[in-house]
Structures are given as structure tokens and as C-alpha cells.
């Protein structure tokens, strides 16, 4: 059921709704939600604690950061380890699956620049 965007060829699949088994939806799920790409970008540079992530994104509330991280962990893209003792320290880190997102983020950035350039010509 591989849908070839590039090869504009014949294809049998006909989605009638965004279905979660579609690869595109899977990838989209990983990067959607406000701040998601920014959090991922931070994690691309290495493991980060909860507060390190907050410090990097000051206008992001604890609640939303928690949501974003929970989502990423649930999708198997990020793992979380917490130090025993007190106060607790956490370390969020990309899993091998999470690392697969790097080319997508790069492409997102590249495409955005291309759009800015193209639309400036008008």
C-alpha cells in the first residue's frame, strides 16, 4: 500500500479519512502540536532534563511541555529516565525511532526556506 507521491502513477489506495495507519499520518503525529518541533530540535542536540527544555522555551508552560513529552514517549520517539533520590532529575532522550525524525525536520526547514524565497518573488 505504498503511496507514491513522487511517481504520480496509478495507485489503488483511496483514503476517505486521515487514518492512523497511513505513514504520512504517523510522521505527522510525531511533529504536530505546538512547540513539538522545537522540543524535538532541542533533543536532537542530546539528552535534556525537564527544566533544561523549559529554559530553552521560556513561553512554554509546564503543562504543555508535559503533554508534548508524554506524546513523544507514547509514540516511542523519546525515552525518559529519572534519577532516584531527591530532588528528582529527569533525562529525556531521543530513541532510535526518534532519531529518524531528523531528516524530516531538515526537510521541513529546507521547504520553509524555499517557500519564503519563492513567495518573496511575487
Amino acid at each position: 500500500m505504498s503511496v507514491a507521491f513522487a511517481g504520480v502513477g496509478h495507485q489503488t489506495v483511496t483514503w476517505d479519512r486521515p487514518s492512523s495507519d497511513c505513514p504520512v499520518e504517523v510522521a505527522l503525529a510525531a511533529i504536530s502540536g505546538r512547540w513539538a518541533t522545537l522540543v524535538l530540535r532541542d533533543l536532537m542536540h542530546g539528552p535534556r532534563s525537564f527544566s533544561a527544555l523549559r529554559a530553552g522555551l521560556p513561553s512554554l508552560s509546564a503543562k504543555v511541555l508535559t503533554e508534548r513529552l508524554e506524546s513523544l514517549v507514547a509514540q516511542g520517539l523519546v525515552s525518559c529516565s529519572r534519577s532516584p533520590g531527591f530532588p528528582v532529575r529527569t533525562s529525556y532522550e531521543l530513541t532510535s525511532a526518534g532519531l529518524l525524525l531528523r531528516p524530516l525536520l531538515v526537510e521541513l526547514h529546507r521547504t520553509g526556506e524555499a517557500l519564503l524565497g519563492e513567495l518573496a518573488d511575487d
Copy 2:
């Protein structure tokens, strides 16, 4: 202000919120919203009328399709031409800017497949 995701190097930019002048946000805006990628995928195959798009995405209401198309047109990614006379016929078509999204859609699909493969290993 080019942010290198790939080159994990030094960078001066520090976003404290998703800003619309960030290329990543620009690209994200183009593909966000439910059904957006599906509509774009249809348009990648050539010009489509309003009802042709609806026919391809049966569970998508006229209202939402209208919203999606308005957004794409507003972003300069799609153009719309309407035939004079009655009944009216429309033709939505990707602009040259809109065509720039193709590699991104391909990458989205590719990444999704990679994720499905990687996560299946667990």
C-alpha cells in the same frame, strides 16, 4: 539565521516561541490542519474542481474543504480559477510555490514508513 538541524553546531538563534518567520513554521503551516496533506496529495496529481476534491475525500465536509482551500490560497500555494456562466466550475491548482511541497510530502511518507518499521521491531 539559518538553523542547522543537521549540523549540530553552534547557533545564535534562540526562539522562545513558535514564530511565523521561522522556516519550519512556514512549512508546517502549509501542511497543518486535518485533511491538508490529503488535499495537497490530490492536487499534486493535477488541477481539481471543488467536487472532485470532495469526491476523493468523502468524509470531508464542504465547510472544512473550503477552509483548507482558503488557507492554501491565502498562503499562495494554490490558485483558483472559476469558469464564467452557470453552473460555475472551479479549478484548484498548485502554484509553483505549492509544488515545492512535494519533497516534503515524500519525506513525510518516507519517515512515516521508517517509523512504522522501527517501532515494529520493539
